[in-house]
């Protein structure tokens, strides 16, 4: 299967959408009455947070498919989706922390359920790679990683519900009412930014899949040429086909 197909127009569309999103953020969206300029981090922080969570869920869905079909390609898809989502989740934590410092005066706010839930989810998914790395047998590694991805995927919404109940609610109620509790031009900017980050996720995912597939093909060709003299593949957390 070729993941490189359509990658170029997709990448161009992503670049275009992200540029448009940033243009809207800086030149179109109004300044927030309370927070001023710093509120604009919202257009980065919330989209990457949402896309990271969707990426974790997608990893869980691919994992279910992997367990059902035993096709190692689904495991690779799950691995790549979770991998990119972890990076985005780290970005969400950093931007959230910056925003918290600017608007609430502290780098870390324990009363903030979204930030705390995100930290817990991040800590859980941070175990994904060590877990894979500590299982040598590739088939078992894929199976166990899928079980983990499914459990963690179910854990994400439960964790958000539990932590939100525990803490006083001080997070900005952005979507309290339909259409957003914010003015229309802010909401439009947010939607474009969300689309841009979503496209970025899909592009990176396809790019990584194409790169991995090329590596596997190259390795297979080398093995055919060199025979058994080839050095063995080093132990790794990444799936191999």
């Amino acid at each position: 299967m070729t993941y490189g197909k359509g990658l170029r127009p997709l990448a161009a569309l992503t670049a275009l959408t992200l540029t448009a999103a940033f243009a809207l953020v800086f030149f179109f969206a109004p300044l927030d009455a309370d927070q001023g300029f710093v509120q604009k981090i919202f257009y980065v922080h919330v989209p990457i947070g949402i896309v990271a969570l969707v990426g974790f869920m997608a990893g869980g869905v691919f994992a279910i498919q992997h367990l059902r079909t035993r096709d190692p390609r689904h495991d690779l898809r799950s691995y790549v989706a979770i991998h990119i989502a972890i990076v985005l989740a780290l970005g969400t934590l950093v931007t959230g922390s910056i925003w918290a410092k600017a608007s609430w005066g502290s780098w870390w706010v324990w009363q903030e359920p979204m930030l705390v839930s995100f930290l817990i989810v991040f800590l859980l998914y941070a175990c994904y790679t060590p877990l894979r790395f500590s299982i040598e047998d590739k088939e078992r590694q894929a199976r166990y990683a899928s079980v983990f991805a499914i459990v963690a995927g179910a854990f994400v919404p439960l964790n958000f519900a539990a932590v939100r109940m525990a803490e006083a609610y001080i997070h900005p109620r952005t979507f309290a009412t339909t259409g957003g509790g914010m003015p229309g031009d802010m909401f439009l900017t947010f939607l474009v930014a969300l689309a841009g980050v979503g496209l970025l996720f899909v592009t990176l995912w396809k790019y990584e899949m194409a790169s991995k597939n090329a590596t596997f093909k190259l390795r297979a060709l080398r093995r055919t040429l060199a025979g058994d003299e080839l050095a063995p593949v080093p132990r790794s957390a990444a799936p191999t086909l």
């Binding site: 989810v121 800590l123 175990c127 500590s134 299982i135 459990v151 179910a154 964790n159 539990a162 932590v163």
Partner: protein, 224 residues
């Protein structure tokens, strides 16, 4: 399946009774942790949310010890091979192990909670015992289900003792959070407050979701 679960559970309890490997260590660990908390916090009596937090963190860490050991005999002495050869439903191993872990947790708590009341707790334990038992029961089910699942995942990895805690702690944060929040008003200094029902609901939902999930995917951890 009921007969298989019964046989496996009896085997596990019998092994524990003869080797006394997990429960005494877990109980001793909890009491040592209470002493550590006494010095760490420099407090001689606790109440309210601090007492609930100390109690639940201690019980959680004690559970980690038992969860680390849960499948060790199965791997080291060929229990898995014997089980896989037997013509029984594979999920019965999950049910039996979770019940065994639940029994260990209850035994440990029978020692640890009186010790906590004796060593650290300011208000009387009797003021809210039935409510506390309800919280304990729901939290223990969650601990047992997730513990069995994580133990089964970690047992075949190279860094078993390291994988269990790093996987288990984030997964159990909702349980500890809900249990501690539900326990805090029960241990208040000025008489037990009412039991917040929504925390019990969170615990029950957690138990239900992960119980069903574990039931659905446990098979995949056994195919070798």
């Amino acid at each position: 399946m009921r007969r298989a679960v019964g046989a496996l559970l009896r085997k596990d309890l019998l092994v524990e009774l003869r080797t006394k490997e997990a429960v005494p260590a877990m109980a001793l660990f909890s009491i040592s942790t209470f002493v550590v908390f006494h010095f760490g916090l420099d407090r001689s009596s606790l109440d309210g949310s601090l007492a609930a937090g100390v109690l639940w963190v201690t019980l959680l860490f004690a559970a980690v010890l038992g969860i680390n050991r849960l499948f060790v005999a199965e791997v080291e002495q060929g229990g898995f091979d014997g089980f896989l050869l037997a013509p029984v439903d594979r999920t019965s191993l999950l049910v039996a192990k979770a019940l065994a872990l639940l029994a260990f947790l209850v035994l440990v708590q029978l020692i640890a909670i009186p010790a906590f009341a004796f060593l650290l707790l300011g208000p009387s334990l009797w003021q809210a015992l039935p409510e506390l038992l309800a919280v304990l029961a729901l939290a223990d089910i969650g601990l047992a289900v997730i513990g069995t699942l994580v133990s089964a995942i970690a047992i075949r990895t190279r860094a078993r003792d390291l994988i269990v805690p790093i996987l288990l702690l984030p997964l159990l944060i909702p349980v500890v959070l809900a249990a501690a929040q539900a326990t805090a008003p029960l241990l208040a200094l000025d008489g037990a407050g009412p039991l917040p029902g929504r925390w019990l609901a969170i615990l029950a939902i957690y138990d239900g979701v992960f119980g069903l999930l574990a039931y659905a995917i446990f098979d995949f951890l056994l195919e070798d």
